[in-house]
Subunit: 191 residues, 4 copies
DNA sequence: AATGAATGAGAGTTCATTCAT
DNA sequence: TATGAATGAACTCTCATTCAT
């Protein structure tokens, strides 16, 4: 049988970027198909509907962030401070891919109003991010305080990503990273 | 000539809320008309197009924030700290109106990709907000530092508004206010 | 406001004829719109979907048959035999309109498989037709027998309409009328 | 060269049933392939197009009815009356296969409007049926009268099949058989 | 022969906008 | 100004058919 013109992974990546750039409503099936080098009809061979595609894109995007971003927080080869700074650099890179923005934030604003099936995956993504940061903040302070700081940091990052998009300037993300690193004691000193 | 069924101000307010709730692409002319108690055709007596309406809505929203939010920063009857805390309370109220969100952020994500005529008003809004905060941070520190803090605070607020929308919990906004107030010395002590 | 290009009644009539001629699946929204002198988009101003139109068309068609066909069976100014013959002539005319066929039979074959919301209106139509014929057969024989005869006559008519469509020859309908009239005693003789 | 997964006969049988159930327009190539346990692409190795398949299905269905139904009329081992009653029982069985309906009637209503290439095979089928019945009615009456009776009986059967489909009750077919048997003198008496 | 992938044409539907009273 | 009706363009999705292994 004829070989696929695009792999599932590539398709999801390009669809994610398209959704991120244009928003859910702003993204047409034609735009998605074009981004994947397919015709509209061919695209439906891979996904039965725009909605089901979005759900898979959200799941794929979450998984990818887990591996490329959140996992850093649990990398025991680095000090907490190093992990945090690495996460900041990685975030700046991930959220700059193709266009500046966070797919989850975009969908939350653009399509998710009152739709539980979309809000839930988005919240799970943010929860995972928060938990990763919490893991870096927990040392040397109470759980509640660390959790509050982690929550706020996710919020800070989302704001920075949004402002970066608006001003076309990713320094907002760097600034959040810098500020967030301050309360993390360098473990090498501790050790 | 019949009298208008709805005032210009009321129409802009309701349109702003509808855009904020559903996003630009998610808002249909039918939804706008319904929100204003008009038929779609009648709505066009007030605004010639969805785009021109949006521009007016952005301007109206900016003006409103100027008076209701940014102006607080220049109220000499209050100490800087009092002004800041009042701005935080007012923000929490404004961005919770009808649905949680910031119209500017919504439009930036949903409709503004590559459209200068939309990005410019949005940036001007954020700049004004930043300037207001800058005015509270300038005392007792250098201009550059104060400007950086103000810039970051706007970003923090936008992130908090987004997370508040996603989690249905405006405490994110309060947390930003609380943290942002810390570096502002209480003028009453100073005076 | 602009005057409608077509009345509700005319629209339903023309839609009914189009469905009857082309079947449900064979009838496109374009065909319906063209039959009514409207564009496809304008057609949606009158009906929200092809399905909801079909339901209204079935109801309209039923009502029309009630008044133009079934009512004859209860016209006390005529003898039962006269009524029956008049019904036959009217049927031949109704089911020849625009194209030979019975809308209910067409939809039953073309769209109704397993769909209760379509089968029910179709059955109610046939039941009303049967009841009308029953009213003509009940005199001089038992209820059960008359009911059986009426049921079979409806079946006969539907078959005749189908064969008339296939052979392009409405004499099948006349033949059913002639045969069905035989067991009805002429009341004038009775009186 | 792999052996075919399905025989030509089986494929035609299943396709016939699918067309009968869903109508021509309602039957998709996917539905046909699924009914035959093939993929859509594989199905095209057997038939080049939906239309050419339909023609073959009509021919196959005609041939099958000839052997299983019409031939009974010429079985000299039975009396005309016995033949007729056997035909009725067989019809009830054939037209109940998979779903209640007559493929020819379904196609006539659903796809054949104005298409000679479809109407002709359908008419030939009905003509053959009529001729078979004519063979049973010719004894003891004029040719013209017998032909008229046969024509009407085919019409009666088609109506009964349609009503059976609509009401989910094959007793309509039995009733037609019973009535149609009356004018056939029992040859055993004659012989 | 079998099949997963691809596709042009078209179907049903929505939408921003215009018309005519 | 208000509004029911009308509409071209575009959108999501389906379908019969073809391609390439």
């Amino acid at each position: 049988m004829r070989p696929p013109k695009i792999s599932r992974d590539e398709l999801l990546q390009r669809s994610a970027n398209t959704f991120k750039r244009l928003g859910y409503h702003g993204t047409t099936m034609d735009a998605l198909a074009a981004a994947c080098g397919l015709t509209k009809a061919s695209f439906y061979h891979h996904y039965a509907s725009k909605d089901s595609l979005l759900l898979d894109v959200l799941a794929w995007s979450h998984e990818r962030s887990k591996q490329a971003l959140f996992a850093i927080a649990y990398d025991e080869k680095l000090t907490p401070r190093e992990r945090f700074l690495k996460m900041g650099r990685r975030a700046e890179k991930l959220f700059r891919d193709d266009s500046i923005g966070c797919l989850m934030g975009v969908v939350a604003i653009d399509a998710a109003y009152g739709k539980v099936e979309l809000m839930e995956p988005i919240r799970r993504f943010l929860d995972d991010w928060r938990d990763a940061l919490f893991n870096l903040y927990r040392h040397g302070r109470g759980e509640a305080e660390a959790l509050g700081m982690a929550r706020q940091l996710v919020s800070d990052f989302e704001g920075a990503i949004l402002l970066s998009r608006i001003y076309g300037d990713t320094s907002y993300i760097d600034a959040v990273t810098k500020r967030g690193a301050l309360p993390i004691e360098d473990s090498s000193q501790v050790a």
